[in-house]
């Protein structure tokens, strides 16, 4: 059966790929694009290790997503999270708070947490549990992972505040209102 040509934007880069309908997004990312940061786990949607972010930043189980369904769309993988040469606050806090042990589940955890913090920088305990329940972590027992997420949320809130203040300041200057 013929492969289909799809365009897929990954971490801001547009790719044209010939894929079979039965290839999952995970297989395409790893095997066609060489992006091995997203790991292969249970391949049945229950461990979360393969999590990437969709266009709305939502958590996507890439092992249970057909690549052809993502034609013309965009995804972000763990390779696209850092900001230039700086680590994203989530990555920084994972490191600083001991939330990384063997590291195999780490990309999946980071993408699951990022899906949450991208839309909510003041998550409750319930919000964090809800966002992370689909992702396994066998080494940390999730404990320091949740600490890291809370700390990253703090950093992101502070950043938001700075951005808002800067914007307000700029607006004030522009208005010339004194």
């Amino acid at each position: 059966m013929a492969k289909q040509l799809i365009t897929l934007t990954v971490n801001g880069d547009e790719h044209e790929l010939a894929v079979a309908p039965y290839q999952t997004l995970l297989e395409v990312l790893r095997d066609e694009l060489g992006l091995i940061g997203t790991k292969r786990g249970c391949t049945a949607g229950s461990c979360g290790v393969c999590t990437v972010n969709g266009e709305k930043g939502e958590a996507v189980l890439s092992c249970c997503a057909l690549a052809v369904e993502w034609h013309g769309r965009s995804v972000t993988t763990v390779e696209g999270v850092q900001e230039g040469t700086e680590l994203h606050p989530l990555q920084k806090m994972f490191l600083e708070h001991g939330a990384v042990q063997c590291g195999f589940c780490t990309p999946g955890l980071i993408m699951s947490a990022k899906a949450l913090l991208d839309v909510n920088t003041s998550p409750t305990e319930q919000d964090i549990n809800e966002a992370m329940a689909g992702a396994i972590c066998r080494c940390t027992g999730h404990i320091k992972v949740k600490v890291a997420i809370r700390e990253a949320a703090k950093l992101l809130r502070a950043r938001e505040l700075q951005t808002n203040e800067a914007a307000a300041g700029a607006a004030g200057v522009n208005n010339g209102a004194r």
């Binding site: 940061g37 249970c42 680590l87 195999f104 999730h142």
Partner: protein
């Protein structure tokens, strides 16, 4: 005896793991990420039956599939042995467990390999099977191995002192029986092996492992090669939990396929295969009997353990050695009796789950002691303080002395922080509190022929260093810990050190990351190597500072004399001057550590954990509200990592005692998935309070001892005791699944 805790510069501070940036950005490479030109993909055809005779194997249709490059049948595996009595593929034509490897295929894609595997036709004659160790040892049961009479693959009987005499002297004697069920290590990284045997006589293997050396040895032996011709690359290991301590069929199969095809081969567990390819724990039945005097002194323990060994023996004997010794780990006894039997069944060859068989035994022994304490009119905190070991204790077989022991300190501190006195016996119905205490050896001499850990350190003119070790990092941050130790000696920062490890071509010898030997053994080796490197610099430093070599202080990237601390020279200058002098050679330190004992351990870690739980009597759901955990780690080289270890083991212990069970039916795992094999996730985790106790062991590097498996020994029993406290009745089978809890509630009414 309080030992001085010196003021150290980098040891004892929180350090982020040195390879962490790679892990959070997805740059870390694991075996499944390895891409080699021309690589083929393997697929194993497995027995669907627990016990059967192979009547015929027809691979003709499979061989005809385009893209299939090699097929192995039992004939191909006949010279490869992966255990005392376990051949790689069954040459005698008898499969002995569901999932038993029969044929292996390598093809140009996973899809083609799977397609070909489906076309392999195997005819079986189903034979009766044994699926419970108690059935297996009964008179008249079918015999699975000629040499194992009564299906007992191994038996250890060990008496210390005269147990019968001591029992006769006891005022209180108690008997209990417990069961722990089969389980699976369940790491995030599925089993995988990439082998490149395309060059005759040279094999390169990429695989996650806890011990590159032992894998190298067994693979080399299997292929009758020199060890040095087998190169093992362990880039990153996605969790070990005692499940990656020996080479398994997939390691040998991927190598054999590669040799036959002349191309690299990747063989990975797909889906439920993960539950077959592993070394997990089997069912264990514990019969315990203990005696004490009425004033609360424990005098004697008798333990009879029956293990489901699975179909073949490999190194499971170790678990009888460990569990027999453990009777004497926590309490000075006048006598003991141990019988441990490994029974063959038609299950996969078991080993043990996270906890080394000891955490699981403590589920039984810790509850048994809890009951004994009650019969003596004490609570378990009192019982632990009354009977627990102290520094200076020597085991009755004379092999081990506790040169540091913080057990009682742990019990006291944990009880105080958890508010034991205000809660025990005072909680409302269905709320409970329980304690579990434990000890764990830091390495165990006598288990391996060659027990050395070695290290090398190479220092450059810029004052930075490369540290070569053979200890894998499977997440426990061992590499960073070693860097901290070396940095402390040299007076630099761990971030100045690159840890080079994971390639048997360059790794110094190290048995690996199990029996909890990393911090103690490799740590001492690392310290020794760093001291050696420093000694190569001392002469130059002393002459520059005009002082004696003994007066030198190495700290904060400076070197100075104790008598004249203001006159500092930068460390890199000392190195630079040493290397660039006219007779400059190199600064390369080497060191090793091999425990001076013949048997036993140089140091034990100790801990106490208190669990607070709420039980819903209608649904049987146990919520762990809080864990208060203390652990005597000698010295915390990296406190946050110690906390992380406690956290991870609380998770693992809680998971095993409340959730984990490979539900078996007819020898088959009914729940071989991350969905149906339950482990708690974010919602279920309790609040954890950590207390790090430091007794500064005289023999550990900077006083450090293990923390890699000590905490989990405390967890399961603490939670089980808390549940018993909440319900007023005790559950004797692990896991305490909701249906077992509900049954206990019903029976107790």
């Amino acid at each position: 005896m309080a030992r001085a805790k010196e003021d150290l510069s980098v040891v004892g501070k929180n350090w982020a793991r040195l390879d962490g940036a790679d892990k959070v950005t997805g740059r870390s490479i694991f075996a499944d990420d390895v891409r080699l030109p021309g690589m083929l993909y393997g697929k194993v055809v497995r027995s669907p039956h627990a016990h059967a005779r192979i009547l015929n194997i027809d691979i003709s249709k499979a061989a005809a599939v385009p893209g299939v490059k090699a097929i192995l049948t039992p004939e191909d595996g006949k010279d490869v042995w992966i255990g005392m009595n376990q051949p790689l593929l069954p040459p005698d034509g008898v499969v002995k467990y569901v999932g038993h490897e029969v044929v292996a295929i390598a093809a140009t894609s996973e899809r083609i390999a799977a397609k070909a595997a489906k076309l392999v036709e195997v005819e079986y004659e189903i034979l009766p099977s044994l699926t419970d160790p108690r059935e297996a040892i009964k008179e008249g049961a079918i015999q699975l191995h000629e040499k194992a009479k009564g299906n007992i693959g191994w038996e250890l009987n060990l008496d210390q002192g005269d147990p019968d005499k001591v029992f006769a002297e006891c005022d209180v004697i108690r008997e209990d029986e417990f069961i722990t069920n089969a389980s699976h290590n369940c790491y995030a990284e599925y089993h995988v092996c990439v082998s490149d045997f395309s060059q005759a006589g040279k094999l390169v293997v990429w695989t996650p492992t806890q011990t590159a050396i032992l894998f190298q040895k067994s693979i080399a032996a299997a292929f009758q090669m020199d060890e040095s011709d087998v190169r093992l690359l362990t880039l990153n290991t996605g969790g070990g939990f005692t499940g990656r301590t020996s080479a398994r069929p997939h390691h040998y199969l991927s190598a054999l396929l590669s040799r036959k095809a002349g191309r690299p081969v990747r063989l990975r567990a797909a889906g439920d295969e993960e539950f077959i390819m592993c070394r997990a724990g089997g069912k264990v039945i514990y019969k315990l009997r203990s005696g004490a005097s009425k004033d609360g002194k424990l005098k004697v323990i008798e333990a009879d353990l029956l293990f489901d060994n699975g179909a073949y023996s490999e190194s499971q004997m170790i678990v009888t050695t460990l569990t027999s010794k453990y009777l004497h780990a926590l309490y000075p006894l006048e006598a003991s009796r141990y019988r441990g039997r490994l029974a063959h069944t038609n299950h996969l060859p078991y080993y043990f789950h996270h906890g080394g068989g000891l955490a699981q035994m403590q589920f039984a022994l810790g509850q048994h002691m809890d009951e004994l304490a009650h019969e003596l009119g004490m609570d378990s905190v009192e019982f632990g303080l009354r009977n627990g070991v102290e520094e200076g204790y020597t085991t009755p077989d004379g092999t081990t002395t506790y040169h540091s022991c913080g057990l009682k300190e742990c019990i006291e501190k944990t009880a105080a922080l958890a508010g034991w006195k205000d809660k025990y016996g005072k909680l409302p119905k269905y709320k409970g509190i329980g304690i579990g205490i434990g000890a764990m050896a830091s390495g165990a001499k006598g288990l391996f022929k060659h027990d050395t850990s070695a290290a090398m350190i190479h220092v450059s003119t810029d004052g930075k260093a490369s540290l070569f070790i053979g200890l894998p990092d499977m997440g426990q941050s061992s590499h960073t810990t070693m860097a901290i130790i070396a940095a402390e000696v040299l007076g630099i920062s761990p971030t100045d050190i690159k840890v080079v490890s994971g390639d048997t071509d360059t790794d110094p010898f190290d048995v690996g990351a199990f029996t909890q030997r990393g911090t103690f053994n490799t740590g001492n080796a690392t310290k020794s190597a760093a001291l050696d490197a420093r000694a190569q610099l001392s002469g130059r430093a002393a002459s520059l500072l005009e002082c004696a070599e003994d007066d030198l202080v190495w700290r904060d990237h400076q070197v100075y004399s104790r008598q004249n601390p203001d006159n500092k020279i930068p460390f890199r200058k000392v190195v630079d001057q040493t290397l660039n002098s006219t007779e400059g050679r190199f600064v390369m330190g080497r060191g090793y550590y091999n425990s001076p004992l013949e048997k036993g351990s140089m140091a034990y870690s100790f801990g106490a954990q208190i669990a607070e739980v709420t039980v819903d009597p209608n649904t049987g759901v146990v919520t762990v509200d809080k864990m208060t955990a203390s652990h005597d780690v000698g010295r915390a080289i990296n406190p946050r990592v110690v906390e992380g270890q406690i956290d991870g083991q609380i998770f693992s212990g809680m998971s095993q005692v409340l959730y984990e069970e490979t539900i078996m039916e007819g020898g088959q795992v009914m729940n071989p998935s991350r969905l149906d094999y339950k482990m708690p996730r974010a919602y279920e985790m309790p609040e954890v309070e950590h207390i790090i106790v430091e007794t500064i062991d005289p023999h550990g590097p900077f006083g450090a001892k293990e923390v890699g498996e000590g905490p989990i020994v405390c967890t399961m029993q603490a939670i089980a005791n808390a549940v018993a406290n909440a319900l007023g009745t005790r559950i004797h089978e692990m896991p305490l699944s909701p249906w077992r809890v509900v049954k206990a509630v019903k029976t107790n009414k």
